[in-house]
Amino acid sequence: MNATRQPILELENVHTYYGNIHALKGISCAIPSGDIACLIGANGAGKSTTLLTIFGVQRAAKGEIRFKGRPIHRFRPEQVAVQGISQAPEGRQIFPRMTTLENLEIGAYLRNDKAEVANDMEWVFGLFPVLKDRARQLGGTLSGGEQQMLAIGRALMSRPELLLLDEPSLGLAPKLVERIFETILEINRNGVTIFLVEQNAHMALSISNKGFVMETGRIVLTDKAVDLLKNEKVKKAYLGE
């Protein structure tokens, strides 16, 4: 780990509201390029909101978000996507009445280079071979694990530099969770920076370089993931030890 490396994504004092509810109360964090970073915390701490705010789906009321040094907090979601950020939403929000193939094509919506897209689709099928078998099947008929893979695959189709993953382990059998996390490592080895939001703190921290702990709209702890795993407070609150 190189401390001087340029962060790919920086959040500075970001505030987000849902109507009157102050969901993010000044989030600041930096994600080093090439790393896997994770954001852990309990239900309702604002983890998903953080990701949606980065993407511009929820507007940041205050603060700054920078991607590769460039401010993006005023961008609309599609403008954020063009920068090279991609997100697999929580709860496997795929398009249920579109086929696997069509789902992946939507992921490549912003790209025009057909040959390259086809290449990347092969790459996604390589990561998740089961999706190839399901290529012509409707998304809604896939199993939970397959849908999660499809959501990640769809996010990869835009060839992102930064991949935001919202609860990839949600509702999956432990064995499958392991599969998904192995694949996340594999994606990272291909040069994609990953920002992971998870309730499964142990799993998330064990594959991450850097970790953030979130509580009711604030980041309360920032450290190397290995150190967070040893941290007494984290152990007690999130690792169930």
Binding site: A88, P89, Y109, G144
Partner: protein, 164 residues
Amino acid sequence: MTVIGVRRLDNSRIGRAWVAIREDEVAAELSGVPTTWLKLLAYAMGAAFASVAGAFFAAKLSYTNPNFFIFMESCIVLCIVVLGGTGSIPGVILAGILLIAVPEVFREFQAYRMFAFGLAMATMMVLRPEGLIPASRRKVKPSEITIKTAEDLDERYQAADSRT
């Protein structure tokens, strides 16, 4: 001409994006689909098709006035779409013929027309909520769905692993 146009649109990038927005707007946004722009476009395209039809209509009758387009007409158009099946081109054509021709045939019973429409709509909701001819995108035979559980998937994975 409209049919060819619409069919091509359905399979185009924009058509795909529209379906994606209908399915799950947030997920579409996260995939980089410009939802606001596309929704506006859908609205404009709908208006464009309607105005082409309107131009033919007015030219043919060589007279037109707002009273031709009362609330009842809007209802019928909506009924046509529901009856035919949302997103299904042949369904909408069939329903269009039915809903325009049948009331003509039963002109004597005009007083009962609304009643008949209501009945037809209610029956449709119960019997065929997807429309007379459902959009092909939605057709999926349950027999094609084999894998349901994580365990099945895992077995599949192991099979795939052993192959490589």
